[in-house]
Amino acid sequence: MAREESSKVTRRSTRSSSSASVTVENPEPNESHSPTIDDLTFGEESITLDALLSNFPGRRSQILDFIRLIGPLDCPILPIMVYGSASTGKSSVVLQTLRHLNRPFVYSSSRTCYNPRILFESILNQLLLHRKCSSNGYSSAKRCDKPSDFVNLLREALSNVIGTLDSASGKGKMVYLVIDNVDLIKYWDKGSMILQFLFSLYTVLKMPQLGIMLISGLPPDVYYSNMGYTDPLLLYFPEYSEDDLRLIFLRNQANKKLYSAFLDVVLRPFCRVTRRVEELSTTFSSLFRKYCEPLDDLGVSPNEEMKRRLYSHLKPLIAPCLNEIFRVSSHPHDGDTRGERRQKVNYSSETREELEVLDFHMSSSAKYLLIAAFLASRNPATLDASMFDSTGGMDNRKRKRKVSEKSMEKKEIAEQEAVMKGPGSFPLERLLAIFQCIASVGDSSFGEEGEEEEEDPTGYDRESNNLMSDILLQVSSLCDANFLVKSGSCPLEGSIRYRSMVSEDLALKVARSLSFPLAKYLYRR
């Protein structure tokens, strides 16, 4: 403790000499202690190699390789690049290994540091033992957004740190710089330049005391360029095998036997879908809760009969989970309103299933507009005239004409092409024209069947239905809801084209709520 105090004092003096603007104004002891040189290491007590290896099942060879690459204390190293797909334990292994070796390091993730300036400043802050807090106005120790400045500042900060490290014992004279998620830098503004810089940092800096480690989700090939820099040493983390995954998931379980029985059931099907530990663990935790539902005592070790029983309980739940990435659980507090919702759903029709009914409110003109957009995206524009003629779109003339085999084939190919191309785009005028057609048709011939359309003896409704005044507003709110997407730039030129992003299911639902015969208007569907 005393040593820590003293080192804090020395740190302060060095920092105030180096940092230009921000000094700690209030001398009163605040509870947030300022960081010391010890904070550069992992902080907690280091772990043994055995503990490290057992913590990461299936990563034994990678850990040993990595320790070998780092080498003994004070051994300068070439840059190391750790790569492998997501959720294979790259960051954890690197950090825990450094913890095991008890080496000082600086960690920055390009996820959190989303632009060069934050990245540089975050590295410098850690090296300068600076922490953002209210007393310094949450500012960084140095302002730095250019790579060239960064090199200078880094060199300065490093020599300071290494000077202090000399006096501290047992930590060597090396500082390691870990940059995580390097692949994200590619998408930054001027990202390739920053990447070049990071890869060549070792040669530019010319300080063997800094060990650079890059962690990337992409293989090194994507970073190659003509710039001459030292190729980093590579360390590949392959995906976990099924056995590895089993070991990983069994690690922290209270009842290993029960969980292993559970894994027997779920691990194989899910491994075919994904091997990311992160994804699997969220899925498994919810599934395991379901799995345990029939059990009273969670400490029980299951026998064959019980396993079978539990399996049959779980079986129907597995298949839907396989396809699911995003689960929305309904909260118990929400229960009663859901009941109301079901009531409301039944309101529009008692016999239909709940799935087939729209569960949010749209005004009926917005509904017609949605259908019009859907039609405009699916049907070729040339067919509009025949679809929406005065008879209201019942074009049977086309169908009756004899079609030869050859033309049928051609049509099929064209249709497949259309499917591949996705929804087509259309100008606003076409949308409005179709809207007017179907809205008038919907009013005159199908209005009587509709349940939500109400008859209107005064005629006000009929009139205002055809009013186009609010339609443009509706178009924009459909755009906002991502049902329509816009393209084109100049609104004066009128060259904006729209595209309907609505799935056929939703369009059918909407059409059903209006009792609109959508299928009749769809071309070849």
């Binding site: 400043e121 850690q126 969220t282 659980s329 309103t337 006000y460 991502n482």
Partner: protein, 735 residues
């Protein structure tokens, strides 16, 4: 919102005269003149919409005008006094209505809000319980190395169930306040913060601005982490509300979620995302990686239709302000809600416009003030003293009064009728609510019931004749027969439903003894039904035809429903008097649906077109108003061009168009001279029509270009494409 400020209260001068007399020399500058006068021309209309409208209105023989033309100039003082008084009364009435609406909405949300707060508390406890972090741990840059699930962000999807967001902006605002009052750190982001341009930095900056301090140099998550560890901030959860998720830029939101999830253990953040469409909407805009980080729960707000019913109940059926609307207005508002807009906000706005127009059109509307005051039942003498001779006369000219052959015998009659009027809605609304109770079983909406029941010409009692009962069972057409549906549903109700209905009736009618007695008489029948049900053992399933005791039960239920139907008939016969059938209802009831419609649906595009074609109606120049169908060069260029464009199909050849434009401009020379000779009008008019010389070719071209540009800006034509450089395209057709 109808701008209440436009109702200014200048003394109504004799401007009406100048409106009515068309031929004065000043007419040429009338647009400006009238705009001022129109607002001063008494608080007749809430919006100064335009000359055209005000003119039409004033010429129409509304009672107000009839009165106005008769009043002496002495009464102008009174007019001023009354218009300010009416405005004042409007304000009290509207504030009352507004408050009722606010209360209803707050009530409808309170349950969800507390649900969300409980969820936050529970989740926060679970995060805390997994182990507290030391300060040095909590602010360092590398992740806490525990289980992978520690990267999960707790997310509440709040389904607003309306495509439009407007209604729910207020809801999220209130949620913000509510959670803050519960001690959470809350920041509210909107889709504006998630623009692709400013990227993830923009929304982080927004977060830091609300949490930490207004100006941060660099928007960095570590700032948030350090802040959270200071000043005991870490004792409360951090909540981020994104109210319109669908409108956000997907990649940016995904980035924010990924970043925050990296820090999820150090700073426990709760996302509240407002979703206006289906609950899988996040799936469409977020990336897979971001989706996996969300641990989502779903909360559903009450649907717009449910809220609408609650608002209707509070405003029109519970004692609120006394103000009400007529059948046609109600129908219009309903169809506007269902077909056009679908937001409660616009419904409230419609209501406000209606209310304002009522007060500006109806002189007697000041009486509503007394309805507003709950305790004062009688009009006091000094209040009736306010009624001048003219208003009294007006009140006895009201159609509802003349229809009912109430003559103007005494002044004392009026207060009598008014107190009747005040009492009137009470039993009426009780009946409506009773019917709504039954209708609930058939999923009827109060909105439908309300609209139908206002119909002054409806004959409900015909549904009770035996032939009709048979009839309605055989075919179920006629979807707007609420009463018929209610009666039909009544016969399908199970005993338990019947008894719950009876209970709610009892509560509803508690204050009105006449109906309450009838309801109480039903109890013995209910008891026998229950007794029969118990004997049978299965009170809830009247559909099983097995035992004899069952048939007994059925008989009892049948007897019961017949009794209930009889009570409904009684209620309808005695108390179902739509407001429009009552004398003096004009005082309370807004009826002018045309005005409401024109105020609400501006129809700007149609207006632009019709105004261009008939520009003389706006400009009020003498030459054009007599032109008939011919185009005159003195017309506005844009107007000429647009009229010419009507002759073309969807594309217009620029050259032809220009030529015909030029012909019109040039040919005027001879014509105008003839005209000016033949017609002996004022000198001013001549000045306008007789322009100096034939304009030069360049000038014509310039005018042509400007006019075309104006048409383009108005969105009526589209500029030539590269493929056909000499053609413009017409965008709009018909007017």
């Amino acid at each position: 919102m109808a701008p209440s400020g436009t109702v200014t209260d200048h003394p109504p001068s004799s401007t009406t005269d100048s409106f009515n007399s068309d031929v004065t020399a000043e007419n040429d500058i009338r647009p400006f003149f009238v705009l001022h006068k129109a607002s001063s021309g008494s608080s007749l209309h809430g919006k100064s919409i335009g000359t055209l409208k005000s003119k039409r209105r004033i010429e129409s023989p509304t009672p107000k005008i009839a009165k106005k033309s008769e009043v002496e100039s002495v009464e102008e003082e009174d007019g001023h006094f009354f218009s300010t008084l009416r405005l004042k009364v409007f304000e009290t009435v509207w504030s009352k209505i507004e408050k009722a609406i606010e209360d209803v909405l707050r009530d409808s949300n309170s349950k969800i809000f507390s649900g969300i707060h409980d969820w936050i508390r529970e989740s926060f406890e679970s995060i805390i319980s997994s182990g507290a972090l030391k300060l040095s741990e909590a602010v360092r840059s590398y992740p806490v190395l525990t289980q992978a699930s520690s990267k999960q962000l707790f997310t509440a999807l709040v389904l607003t169930r309306n495509l439009e967001m407007v209604d729910d902006l207020l809801t999220f605002e209130e949620l913000d306040l509510y959670l803050k009052s519960q001690g959470c750190h809350v920041a509210k982001l909107s889709s504006m913060d998630f623009s692709a341009k400013s990227g993830v930095g923009g929304c982080l900056r927004g977060l830091l601005r609300q949490f930490v301090m207004p100006t941060v140099d660099v928007a960095d998550v570590t700032i948030l982490a350090s802040w959270y560890r200071e000043n005991k901030n870490h004792e409360n959860p951090v909540v981020v509300i994104v109210d319109d998720t669908e409108r956000c830029c997907g990649p940016v939101l995904s980035d924010l979620i990924l970043i925050l999830s990296e820090w999820a253990v150090k700073v426990p953040i709760f996302f509240i995302m407002g979703v206006s469409t289906a609950h899988d909407a996040p799936r469409k805009i977020l990336s897979v990686n971001a989706l996996q980080r969300l641990c989502a729960s779903k909360f559903t707000l009450s649907s717009p239709a449910e809220r609408m019913d609650a608002v209707l109940k509070a405003v029109f059926l519970k004692p609120c302000s006394g103000f009400t609307v007529s059948y046609k207005v109600a129908l219009f508002m309903k169809s506007y809600f269902l077909c056009q807009d679908g937001t409660l906000t616009s419904f409230v706005r419609t209501l406000k416009i209606a209310c304002l127009q009522h007060f500006s059109l109806e002189p007697l509307s000041i009486m509503l003030e007394h309805f507003c005051q709950d305790h004062v039942n009688q009009l006091s003498g000094e209040d009736t003293g306010l009624l001048t001779e003219a208003t009294m006369k007006h009140s006895f000219d009201l159609p509802s009064v003349t229809r009912n052959k109430i003559t103007r015998s005494t002044f004392e009659m009026l207060p009598q009728f008014l107190s009747d009027l005040q009492r009137m809605p009470n039993p009426w609304s009780i009946v409506v609510l009773c019917i709504y109770e039954v209708g609930k079983f058939d999923k009827l909406r109060l909105l439908d019931i309300f609209c139908e029941i206002l119909d002054p010409e409806a004959h409900y009692l015909k549904y009770f004749s035996p032939s009709e009962i048979v009839n309605c069972q055989s075919h179920n057409s006629g979807r707007n027969n609420v009463i018929r549906r209610v009666l039909r549903k009544l016969r399908d109700l199970s005993p338990s439903q019947l008894s719950s209905m009876l209970k709610s009736w009892e509560n509803l009618t508690a204050e009105f003894s006449e109906i309450n007695d009838k309801v109480m008489e039903l109890h013995p029948f209910m008891r026998s039904v229950e007794a029969a049900g118990q004997r049978q053992g299965l009170p809830n399933s009247p559909k099983k035809h097995t035992s004899r005791s069952h048939s007994k039960l059925e008989k009892e239920v049948k007897a019961m429903t017949d009794k209930v139907a009889a009570v409904i008939e009684f209620m309808l016969r005695e108390y179902m008097k739509p407001v429009e059938t009552i004398p003096f209802h004009e005082i309370l009831c807004f009826k002018n649906v045309d005005k409401l419609q024109s105020a609400l649906l501006g129809d700007p595009r149609g207006k632009i077109q019709s105004d261009l074609l008939e520009s003389h109606n706006i400009l009020h120049c003498m030459c054009c108003s007599q032109r008939g169908t011919t185009l005159l060069p003195s017309m506005h260029d844009t107007s000429i061009l647009y009229t010419l464009a009507q002759e073309h199909a969807d594309v217009i050849n620029l050259h032809d168009w220009y030529q015909s434009f030029k012909t019109i401009l040039i040919s005027r020379n001879s014509k105008a001279k003839q005209k000016s000779k033949s017609s002996s009008k004022s000198k001013k008019r001549k000045d306008i029509c007789e322009e100096p010389e034939v304009p030069a070719e360049a000038l014509i071209q310039a005018r042509f270009c400007r006019a075309v540009m104006e048409l383009q800006i108005a969105g009526l034509i589209r500029m030539p494409s590269k493929r056909r450089p000499d053609f413009v395209q017409r965008v709009t057709f018909g007017s």
